[in-house]
């Protein structure tokens, strides 16, 4: 498979004004293949934006390099930039200009002009379904419409490679659906290579050919969804909703000791688990066991012995969430 993007020990250390250093990205190595959707999945503050900013030449890496279509972003930035479209996490538009003027202006920044540019702007407006609102100022648009123009600007020069940084943040489900469909359409119909960052497992799961999981600036997992879940495939994940009052580290030790096949236990106190909506007092207990269904009765018995009330039990097939949990001991959305 042809490589579109290659990161070599890409690193960024921010220096704060008080002198302290933040290692936002730590020596990331990865490749993105032509024509695939590659998701960079990680919680807020993981370093996704910093990585994408270095790859698109906005900020200089403090170590390593990124190669776009073989061009080093640090040494041949113009050649690298010509290949890529960039869709920032924020709505990066001039609110006082109309949608059309925004598109025209940024088109010129990609070296387009004249009737060529005008025609392309028409196409893009049609693609993002805003032809009838093109003369209106961005400041009058809804969040979803702004997002669409934001994406449209990145498509103007028909780039082979598209960087999308959390393009669904802060929009309603309907517009989110639309964005996700667009991303797939861009790959399937236009053969674009897409780097898509998100903190939402479902999006990565739906879109990605391959996924990189990033946490605290480190790439902790990389591969197709199948390859990643493989790492946790031998184990089932059992989610318990329990009354957290009886929980203790002694109980955790007893579980690991007495339940055959139980490999790991993760406990999230009340209010932390993402599945406990509406039941504030419930804690989340996640257990990983080689044969989940066999381990289940033993776990429930021990919990009952300790006086811990079990409210619900769910045995799950492994997914990206499980991978993240398995690798970090934390839920993705924490």
């Amino acid at each position: 498979m042809d490589t579109m993007v290659k990161l070599r020990d890409l690193s960024k250390t921010y220096r704060r004004s008080d002198g302290s250093a933040v290692e936002a990205v730590k020596q990331i190595n990865l490749e993105i293949y032509k024509g695939e959707i590659f998701s960079l999945l990680g919680p807020n503050g993981a370093g996704k934006t910093t990585t994408i900013s270095m790859m698109s030449g906005l900020i200089a890496p403090t170590g390593g390099d990124a190669f776009i279509g073989g061009h080093s972003i640090t040494k041949e930035p113009m050649a690298a930039k010509r290949l890529m479209g960039f869709i920032p996490q924020e709505v990066a538009l001039y609110p006082e200009l109309s949608a059309r003027r925004n598109l025209l202006f940024f088109g010129k920044m990609y070296g387009m002009h004249g009737s060529d540019l005008n025609k392309r702007v028409d196409e893009v407006l049609a693609f993002i379904d805003l032809t009838d609102r093109q003369k209106d100022k961005i400041s009058t648009f809804s969040g979803g419409m702004k997002r669409r123009v934001n994406i449209g600007v990145g498509l103007l020069h028909r780039p082979e490679l598209l960087f999308m940084d959390e393009p669904t943040v802060g929009i309603d489900p309907q517009n989110r659906r639309r964005v996700l469909d667009t991303v797939k359409q861009l790959r399937d119909e236009y053969g674009m290579t897409i780097l898509y960052t998100t903190h939402m497992m479902e999006e990565a799961q739906e879109l990605s050919d391959r996924v990189g999981i990033i946490d605290h600036g480190e790439l902790i997992a990389l591969g197709t969804q199948g390859e990643l879940t493989q790492q946790v495939r031998e184990e089932d994940q059992i989610d318990f909703a329990i009354d957290g009052r009886g929980w203790s580290s002694e109980l955790e030790a007893r579980l690991l000791q007495e339940v055959p096949g139980l490999t790991r236990v993760a406990y999230a106190p009340p209010g932390h688990g993402d599945d406990s909506a509406g039941e504030e007092s419930l804690a989340a207990l996640t257990a990983f066991a080689a044969r989940g269904r066999q381990a289940l009765p033993d776990i429930i018995r021990i919990l009952n012995d300790a006086g811990v009330e079990v409210h619900s039990v769910k045995v799950r097939e492994p997914d990206l969430e499980a991978v993240f949990l398995a690798l970090t001991g934390r839920a993705l959305r924490d």
Partner: protein, 544 residues
């Protein structure tokens, strides 16, 4: 280059489609300049602060050889009067008497009392009126007399005087009324009057360093001379009107016996008698007869006919020329003090307007550059950086755009200032002068200096918030030094402000002088220096 231009146009477009911004950039300075201009525009005395529009030092050189009034009035006039030989008239002395009443003693125009001439045709109010003028002019000027025009010009060049007023030998000749009855010689008369005026113009030699003062002097002298010339034209027109009325349309005279109509070229007294005899036939005759009677009476020394005026010399008559209440014939006449005010108002609009324009442009300069921070916050800067556009081009576009925005703001303000001044003066004026090339050069130099200052300020500040706090302080400081608020500071301080240099250039250009190279050098120099240092600092802070 194309990309830089695209960024520049975007900057200009965004700025000039923002209504709130336009209010601050254009309307506010315009309103402020007008208010300050009107507040300082009156000849209210010495409280105009730095404009020092009182005690303007002037020097007068009176070379006027005078003219004989009687001769000018034609043979008929003198032949019929015992005084004979006519009256000696000296317009130059008259100007001296008006501008420098304290120095004019002994050489007052008609050899009479040497007192201020009082309009004898407005007996009740005459004294008051004349006092109003001399009072105003006394405050306005600190006059001196000289004999040698070259020495006077040299003294002006040295800066001893703001202006020299040089009255040429043929001045009186040119402004004395020319009587010529009958329609035949219309054109000859007009032509003669006009060429004479041109040949014998009073020269106002001005000091380049005091353009407002010089300009005020010029407008006052022009007003005085203008009154003399207008009177000349008026009298000539009156004579022609009489002749034409009679020669061209004898029918109008109704049942007048043609035999009683005086012949062409008949003595003025005959005409007078004729008109008085027929006064009941036409109000026109009555009016003319009354006017001519007074005029003739004054000229011939007949006290009873002059309406009981105490003063019967020609000085009294001529002083009427400067009285706004006396209009010998309906010729457009501007009262002297209004003409003066107009000159000053216009000058003040140049000074205050230019200073205010640059002052408000400073805000545009500083906050325009600051918008780069805003673009970074909005991620549009990042979007630009991600495009195949060099950082230098982006910076050049943003800063170039700022220069252009500042330039457009200055140009629009200057245009509007001229329009507002014209509206207030009720006549179209271009207050900036007509040296378009130099005006353009000055605005460009100013735009660079203003924008450069913006880059420097933003580069020096650690954060945008610091710029928000310090920017206005710096602008107000420079504005105060540069006289944007109507008071001036000593040169040593004022010269620290780029506004001073810009305003100085505009004042010179408005006064018709072109020697502004020092100003341009200072402005371009500041601009270049600010830009170099500012951009260097700025790139370190913003990583662009």
């Amino acid at each position: 280059m194309r990309k830089i231009w695209a960024i520049v146009s975007k900057e200009v477009y965004i700025t000039f489609t923002n209504r709130n911004l336009l209010l601050i950039m254009l309307v506010t300075p315009l309103v402020l300049s007008t208010i300050i201009g009107l507040a300082f525009g009156g000849l209210g005395g010495g409280d105009s602060g730095g404009l020092s529009l009182s005690n303007i030092p002037i020097v007068i050189v009176n070379l006027d050889e005078g003219a004989t009034f009687g001769n000018a009035l034609g043979g008929g006039f003198t032949a019929d009067n015992q005084t004979g030989g006519g009256q000696a008239f000296n317009g130059g002395d008259q100007i001296v008497a008006i501008l420098a009443p304290n120095l004019a003693e002994g050489q007052n125009a008609f050899g009479a009392s040497g007192d201020q001439p009082v309009c004898s045709l407005l007996p009740e109010k005459g004294a008051d009126n004349s006092r109003r003028y001399s009072g105003t002019l006394e405050e306005l000027f600190a006059p001196a007399l000289m004999d040698d025009p070259a020495a006077a010009r040299a003294a002006v060049d040295r800066g001893d005087y703001a202006a020299a007023i040089i009255i040429p030998p043929a001045f009186s000749q040119a402004v004395t009324p020319q009587f010529q009855f009958g329609p035949a010689d219309d054109q000859a008369t007009n032509a003669a009057a006009e060429t004479d005026v041109v040949d014998s113009e009073v020269e106002v030699y001005a000091n380049a360093g005091q353009p407002i003062e010089a300009s005020v002097t010029r407008s006052v002298v022009e007003a005085i001379v203008g009154q003399l010339v207008r009177f000349n034209v008026a009298i000539t027109a009156m004579g022609q009107a009489i002749g034409q009325q009679i020669a061209a349309s004898p029918m109008d005279l109704g049942d007048v016996d043609p035999a009683t109509v005086p012949a062409q070229g008949a003595p003025l007294a005959d005409w007078l008698a004729f008109m008085e005899a027929n006064a009941d036939r036409s109000p026109w005759f009555a009016g003319l007869a009354a006017g001519l009677t007074r005029f003739q009476a004054a000229a011939s020394g007949d006290q009873s006919a002059a309406g009981g005026a105490a003063n019967n010399d020609l000085g009294g008559i001529v002083s009427c020329l400067f009285d706004p209440n006396f209009e010998p014939i309906q010729v457009q006449q501007q009262p002297l003090n209004r003409v003066q005010e107009q000159g000053i108002f216009q000058q003040i609009m140049v000074q205050i307007g230019a200073a205010q324009a640059v002052f408000f442009a400073l805000f545009t300069g500083i906050f325009g550059v600051l918008s780069i921070y805003e673009e970074r916050k909005n991620w549009t800067l990042q979007r630009l950086l991600a495009s195949p556009t060099s950082r230098s081009s982006i910076l050049a576009g943003k800063l170039g755009g700022n220069v252009v925005v500042v330039w457009v703001q200055l140009a629009l303000l200057m245009l509007f200032l001229t329009l507002v001044t014209s509206a207030i003066m009720r006549s179209p004026v271009n207050i900036w002068g007509d040296q378009w090339g130099l005006i353009l050069l000055t605005t460009v130099a100013l735009s660079l200096a203003v924008s450069g200052l913006g880059v420097l300020v933003v580069g020096l500040a650690r954060t945008p918030e610091q710029v928000q706090a310090m920017g206005p302080v710096i602008a107000i400081f420079l504005g105060a030094l540069g006289g944007a608020f109507g008071f001036a500071l000593p040169d040593a301080l004022a010269n620290l402000s780029l506004i001073t240099w810009g305003v100085g250039a505009f004042k010179s250009l408005a006064a018709g002088q072109g020697d502004i190279w020092l100003n341009l050098a200072v402005l371009f120099g500041q601009g270049a220096l600010f830009f170099v240092i500012g951009v260097w600092l700025f790139r370190r802070r913003v990583e662009i």
